[in-house]
Symmetry: C2
Subunit: 516 residues, 2 copies
């Protein structure tokens, strides 16, 4: 078997095009003589991917070869047909798909909280696809279930829960992790809600900062709590929740006869990167007996850094924590964990005892059949990429990576805070890698009419962003916030970025924006 593999690998590159050209999917495994054809085909795909990867890291290439949707629809035949295509056509489709994709590994891709492409994480994801199994039972995912166990325990230790005790799950993203937390908080206070629904409980209210992620409201809408029962707490100028306002709103709600059940503090807000004051919040939660959740989807990873973890001081007092390794730790998408302090609660909250899946008379220790604590039935294997990357980097490797991103953002902040044409959205050094700023082109810079100036400034970031995409040189996000007009939100989670890339970004903004 192995000899054959080697043989194929050595010869495929010269043979594959003519070799694959005349074949179809039906010639691949499980076809009886499909071994060689399969390996040739997969090797050909891998060659396309390897070339794409190397190219993605090359600053000379574009981040994106942008086309408008109607153009892109016409640039290839994307329609599905009744008849099969040749494997050669499949390779062509792979190349076309990558040609128009965003190069998320590119050192100048800063558009989202999740950027970069980790090589060990990628290898792990390829292995996960090849193993093609499901997390619901030990029976079908023995290794992955154990690795989830080991990794969640380690993450709870890092949070600071004694001996890493507690519970948790990897879910399909931070929004779902936050929804789990709200679901658990409700169940903890009113377990009857599982059977009897919201009509059996008093009016529940949740609290979160006005800067928090929209998934808190989305979760409340889905869970039948309603968005109006999510009370937005004022944040200070730098985006941190104001504890006094939280307490005031809790008391107000109680006076109305509502039941405060859930506070979601944010560790690393989406736009400003602010860390809510967790200790003060936890004091209030304890005083009023409210579940404290920490949405650390973005900022949770700073727990890995000895230099920065103080920003989450008090996280160990939370009842639940969302932490997305697919953001600041560059684990390939998706990888989001919900960590829960109380053991057994998730199981009680979500279990339905499906007897076709969680048979009670299996021959192994059933505590490893973790699927019934999930909202999902089948669950994708998201653990292996995190586990293998942790193995490859060690905790100190993640720490170094995170510290470097924060260093780059400090460099950016220092570079623009007093630079002509720039204005910071809030004062002081950013706590996370978010640097929020306006770029004022010369034509706007000295406008005297403040309203006119604001109106013009609001249009600057969208135009510069559109030009960035059309040139394909870099990508960075922008948005308005409250009464603040459109500003750039630069975030750095891409391990490929360097000081030079930060310099480039500033030059590029000025190049693309100077005529506005």
């Amino acid at each position: 078997m192995f000899a054959e593999v080697t043989f194929i690998k050595k010869t495929s590159s010269s043979r594959c095009f003519c070799f694959i050209y005349f074949y179809f999917f039906a010639d691949l495994l499980p076809a009886s003589d499909g071994d060689i054809k399969t390996m040739t085909f997969l090797q050909e795909v891998v060659d396309i991917l390897l070339a794409y990867i190397v190219e993605s890291f090359d600053r000379e290439t574009k981040v994106i070869d942008f086309h408008y949707p109607n153009e892109l629809l016409q640039m290839n035949n994307w329609e599905l047909q009744d008849e099969p295509a040749t494997l050669d056509d499949i390779l062509i489709s792979c190349r076309a798909t990558l040609k128009y994709a965003i190069k998320t590994a590119h050192p100048r891709y800063f558009n989202q909280l999740s950027t970069g492409l980790d090589m060990v994480g990628l290898a792990a994801d390829w292995l996960t696809s090849t193993a093609n199994t499901n997390m619901f039972t030990y029976e079908v995912a023995p290794v992955f279930v154990l690795l989830e166990y080991v990794t969640l325990k380690k993450m709870r230790e890092i949070i600071g829960w004694s001996d890493g005790r507690g519970d948790g799950i990897f879910s399909p993203g931070g929004a779902i992790s936050n929804m789990y937390a709200m679901l658990l908080a409700r169940f903890k206070m009113f377990p009857e809600v599982k059977e009897k629904g919201m009509s059996s409980v008093p009016r529940l209210v949740a609290f979160t900062s006005e800067h928090s992620h929209f998934s808190i409201k989305k979760g409340a809408a889905a869970l039948g709590i309603g968005t109006e029962s999510v009370i937005c707490i004022k944040a200070d100028e730098s985006g941190k929740l104001i504890p006094a306002d939280l307490e005031r709103r809790i008391l107000e709600a109680k006076q109305k006869g509502f039941v405060p059940f859930f506070v979601s503090a944010t560790a690393g807000t989406t736009v400003y990167g602010a860390f809510d004051p967790l200790i003060a919040i936890s004091d209030i939660c304890r005083k009023y007996n409210i579940w404290m959740h920490v949405d650390g989807a973005w900022g949770g990873s700073l727990l890995m850094s000895r230099r920065h973890r103080w920003k989450l001081d008090g996280v160990e007092r939370a009842n639940s924590v969302t932490w997305n390794p697919h953001k600041m730790m560059s684990v390939p998408l998706q990888c989001s964990a919900l960590l829960v302090r109380e053991e057994g609660l998730m199981q009680n909250c979500n279990q339905m005892h499906a007897c076709y899946l969680f048979q009670q008379d299996k021959h192994y220790d059933l505590s490893y059949d973790t699927g019934d604590k999930a909202l999902q039935c089948g669950r994708h294997v998201d653990i292996f990429k995190l586990w293998l990357m942790w193995r490859a980097k060690g905790t100190i490797g993640f720490e170094a990576q995170i510290d470097k991103c924060l260093e780059l953002s400090e460099y950016l902040y220092n570079k623009i805070k007093d630079r002509e044409g720039y204005e910071m959205v809030f004062d002081g050094k950013p706590q996370h890698t978010n640097v929020c700023f306006w770029y004022l082109p010369p034509g706007i810079r000295y406008m005297e009419d403040k309203e006119e100036k604001k109106k013009h400034l609001h249009k600057v970031a969208p135009v510069i962003k559109a030009r960035m995409m059309e040139y394909g040189t870099t990508m960075v996000s922008y948005q308005p916030q409250g009464d603040k007009v459109n500003f750039f939100r630069m975030v750095i989670s891409n391990p490929a970025a360097t000081f030079e890339d930060i310099d480039f970004l500033i030059e590029e903004i000025e190049r693309l924006g100077q005529d506005l």
Copy 2:
């Protein structure tokens, strides 16, 4: 660049072990001279995967090298460390992980509704990992967003909705797709529930067959409806919902002042593979103005088969349909679609207008920013594997694959229905590939005391299953159902399975069970 790729590929196999041994993750890209080391490392991983794939299809290998959890924990060092490991250690970890994994591609792996490993689907998943992006906006996933649009439209055409109109989304599994449907049904009837929560609406009740999937109840618990508000409708002997009982229970609920809002019919139940009578159910739903959902997670794929799609007659009258290509169509996990007849409803139900993500002043057609209709914020790219497989097989390729699985199950049914020592759980030819049966070992076969016989029989399937796993020869599921003691539920979705594998399964059950 391309010359370099070729060079690496040709030489890696002889150099890689010594080459990689001394290196660490930090030597890979984005390290400045990381190209060659990265390609060598990734090629080495691919070689491990290719060997595993070829081995997985070989009937001489085990489906699983089974170990109990406490043994497996000790068979390797799975713990996470502070210090980085060498890349050589990473390769060792990859090999160890695969050694103890289930070979889901194995022709004798029948354990779940999702079995098999499709080579084009796998290639597509590798590409998806490499592109490492997020479905929320066109901006970051231009091609994948278009492919989702094209594919959902095609699926709606196949359902029978005129011109493929409607809406839909790929979600993380059938349970979440079903939850979406329930959420939409509630919002359609009481849009105020989004803001005001369940306390603003009357007591809602949902209906589904007693054989339906547990996710309907799980969804109701999460959405604040409560499991007691899911009314289980009687099924006939073959597992189909009895429409008369549905109507009776709807009337009963209305008399109590409850509001029926949702009926979930099942197209392909999990255990029996039964198809609920959709036309009769839709008549009732129309009469009482209730949202009709079809949970076709398992059976929806039969729509691709001209021979079998009559089993879903009436599906075009549904308001929403769950259809999991990761089951009967062998798309790698996960790939689940929710299709919705009414356009715009998902957006209205779920949107939260996050201005940092869905900016309204972007330079392209914003209708392609589909993320705000999702419950998730970030969403994994699940579309490419389905799209590429469809491209490779054509509709007729999927049809042939599905028809073959149904043929195999009919073969199994015909083989055992009159065979000594077998008893079918329900009469008649199965409608899906589920074949439910008891195997009665000689020692039990002629027992006269019926209760004693049942008690013994209940223990047979778990023991045979445990032995299958210990020998690693095959895997098939079992469960009790209602008052029926443990029976085998054979399902065939694995395109690698042949008539000989069915013969093998029967021989194996008899070999492992004859002494019981």
